[in-house]
Symmetry: C2
Subunit: 236 residues, 2 copies
């Protein structure tokens, strides 16, 4: 029996499949999880609606939602209604239009602020370099650069503490993430990944996020618990 | 006469003396200045009220205000009404209670997003390591670490462009900043630095920001154009 208090971690939690798994991994590693979601003007508000349920399901100690309206800048299909979400299934190669400029830098900066006030020394986020290789801020070198920044940016850094940015699913395939989440008891039916889910959280089935998620369940050989729109079901 | 278009820069503009000077420096270097202010829940809203006037006065091409409510995290005298703004004149040594956790990381992350959408390769911000030596995110190593991050975080970085984070007043004393601003035609009467200015933008005269600013004008040997509250005038 240990009398030491649980270590505290801030976990960026979108409400989707990846970050739910990351939160469960942090819990398994013994962290008290303080989940942070960011309402940044994303069109997929249903994902954010799912975040409190996901936080509770994975056993988070707290869950907080912070607002920052990135629609002020635009430049992404996720924050500008005038840019269509791609549904043609082409994911690899160039940076997709669903890339939100500097989004993960902003999310991690907010997580860093939360961590600093909580006295947490650990940040977790669900970057994945396999499926989303086109996103600059999901690459290993980005994670390392942010960790280096965090270690000069804060009061803790000045006082000699070391901050760690954990990206535990960085090199996992989607099917490996699904298997890891199931092993840890994540209820993926609570999560929403679709870039254009309807108000009830039902997925379109055709955007990149849906395709990757569906393929992940298929390749893991487990049932897909995602709720799809009736149009998506007809197409399938 | 040059036919080349002006280079574009994003300049973080608080409405205070330092960032006004930084914007003027960027203009002198030939940049088209896109000013960015952030309403982060700071108690000194009067500074932000001054920002549009300052942006216009220094010749900014555009000015934008983005909201992110850091009161959600607290932990600073500037974002938590329950923590008093220090007025005892002790600036050096430990990190002051007016330090806002991870604030400059967040501000620069937002500037990076704006720059990425604009296609700008240059960010300017008014970090100063002389007067505010207690703030971790005003140190030279922080500026370098953010620049390193910016150069892996964005589409431009992936495509081979180089981003530069300019902190032109980093090593200037306040009096040197005052002299530089005056040389460049900055109207400091438009700027507000006070941490607890009243609704009309009149300064308290006793907070750290007021003391540093007043000493800066005195040491530069120029009149202080700051509008003070009547209580501040009586104390002086």
């Amino acid at each position: 029996m240990s009398l030491s208090p649980a270590r505290t971690a801030v976990v960026l939690l979108s409400g989707g499949l990846d970050s739910a798994t990351v939160a469960a991994i942090a819990r398994e590693q013994g962290f008290a999880v303080h989940a942070l979601s960011v309402r940044y003007g994303q069109r997929h508000g249903a994902e954010l609606d799912a975040a409190p349920r996901v936080a509770a399901q994975v056993g988070a100690t707290s869950h907080r939602v912070v607002d920052v309206d990135l629609r002020a800048f635009g430049g992404s299909a996720l924050t500008d209604a005038a840019i269509a979400v791609p549904t043609d299934g082409v994911v690899a190669g160039t940076i997709p239009s669903t890339y939100v400029p500097a989004r993960n830098t902003i999310l991690l900066a907010l997580a860093l602020a939360h961590a600093e006030v909580l006295g947490a020394r650990d940040l977790f986020y669900g970057a994945n370099a396999v499926d989303y290789s086109g996103y600059p801020d999901c690459r290993p070198e980005f994670v390392l650069a942010f960790e280096a920044l965090a270690n000069v940016a804060t009061r803790a850094a000045v006082e000699g503490s070391r901050l760690t940015v954990h990206a535990p699913i960085l090199r996992m395939t989607k099917s490996a993430i699904v298997r890891e989440g199931l092993r840890l008891g994540v209820d993926f039916a609570q999560t929403v990944s679709c870039y254009q889910a309807d108000a009830d959280g039902r997925a379109c089935g055709v955007c990149d996020a849906c395709r990757l998620r569906r393929d992940g369940f298929a390749q893991a050989g487990v049932p897909d618990p995602t709720r799809y729109t009736s149009a998506a079901v007809r197409r399938a």
